[in-house]
Symmetry: D2
Amino acid sequence: MSIIAVIYCSRTGNTQKMAEEVARGAQGAGATVDLMQVDEANVEELTKYDAIIIGSPDYYAGMAAEIKEFLDASVVLHGKLAGKLGGAFSSSANVGGGNETTILSILQAFLVHGMAVMGEAIGDHFGPVSVNAPDDRVVHQCRTYGQSIARLADKLRG
Amino acid sequence: MSIIAVIYCSRTGNTQKMAEEVARGAQGAGATVDLMQVDEANVEELTKYDAIIIGSPDYYAGMAAEIKEFLDASVVLHGKLAGKLGGAFSSSANVGGGNETTILSILQAFLVHGMAVMGEAIGDHFGPVSVNAPDDRVVHQCRTYGQSIARLADKLRG
Amino acid sequence: MSIIAVIYCSRTGNTQKMAEEVARGAQGAGATVDLMQVDEANVEELTKYDAIIIGSPDYYAGMAAEIKEFLDASVVLHGKLAGKLGGAFSSSANVGGGNETTILSILQAFLVHGMAVMGEAIGDHFGPVSVNAPDDRVVHQCRTYGQSIARLADKLRG
Amino acid sequence: MSIIAVIYCSRTGNTQKMAEEVARGAQGAGATVDLMQVDEANVEELTKYDAIIIGSPDYYAGMAAEIKEFLDASVVLHGKLAGKLGGAFSSSANVGGGNETTILSILQAFLVHGMAVMGEAIGDHFGPVSVNAPDDRVVHQCRTYGQSIARLADKLRG
């Protein structure tokens, strides 16, 4: 089965709660999950994962600088993540406030690494989005997303 | 005072309702507004407006094909819209379903025309977003946005 | 082996040339490829492909309206493309003129369908980009991309 | 006349060269320009400028983490930049490598601040793009962009 990193940055706890639910969903699909805050994560260890999922609050329509710093640092292993699976989720204070652009900025970084990303036909299409504290809808989105990522990671490992 | 086009595509009536509220906001700030469905709008007449605001439902994370067809046709006056102001709004069936990418795709088309666009520091930052039918929050966003666009259009006319 | 659709819209022939090279790359990796202009493509037949690759000129920073119309029409089979692979490429008259946003707008539509997309660690990261007529660099990008998509489609088919 | 900040991050010198040319263009249009590396820039002083232009290399399809950190820190004056003008430019190692997404991520941050941004009808539409070292084309784009921003900033100052 797959091994998956769920890496997040959280100040209010909203993104952390989402990370925990994404991790739970992935575990429910049989994956082994390492759940960590971005300042505990080690760029060099990314190569051991089948999928990497990153969650960030929406700051000025993009990921938090701490997450960007982590992704910038991942250049040392450029090319070694190719073929792996990436995922993203975000929390925001507003419906039209940059949730989607935050997620897409993370997914685009994964594409630059030569990774694959996936969407969901039902619900939050690019990745789970929470406006303020995660409610039942968001918890469901996060679990489903974790599960879908785990299943696709298994296929890609194949 | 400024003259503003509010052009929209609507099947369920949600985007039309938003268009009416954006128009109302702009009129409240003193602008003359032409409100039209995209199939009533004439590309050649765009040059007479100080600001052009386009609203679209979110179809597959982008504007409706009817709107794209209209924007593609606007190539006949490329360069002649430079310096004008553009705005956009969208409605969607889902929080994380492409609202923002729909608005941004319209704003990016305006930038290619050499136009200016503006954000809002409070609320829906790129332009008004409705998840399903417009509620009071959305009506407020639309009116405020119409008002802000009208004021900035006046300045740009200067 | 996989069966792949390469669908394109082309007026100057540049995007068509790219489509042919992407098709060649995919065939070289063993895939069966259906190469078609968008007005020859049938939405209902999309379900038979393992991967769908769409190429468009960059019109106002997005895909041509003909392509958007095709994607909007694909709503009739929403959910049935989930798990398939998508790809995109674009041609433009300018370096910073919307090549990337055109490709990303197509990839985002695929994500809404619940499909997967992939990047390239080397070269044009989101998909092949041609500024004006495709030169040797672009031909190489297109072939490599077609090949990569075919290989990943094989994996996803499992 | 307007006072404009040109803030950049540069490791290879490419983005710095672009910044100098953007500054020259703005000065040529009569603006007073403060040109600074991002680590010399002070968030609190942003309120004194009529326009803020930010340049970044393209790292993983987005702005450098140093620039993101600066923008995240600008939350302390949220609302106070509303109505100002923003601009962006980027350098990259590749045509389809994230130039546009880097620029757009900066422009989107400005929109969240309630600022206005503008495009160019001719050339690099969202802002100047350099693939590798800036050549004559890029120098021209940068000067024209600086000039255009300065002129629009004058209008917005009213």
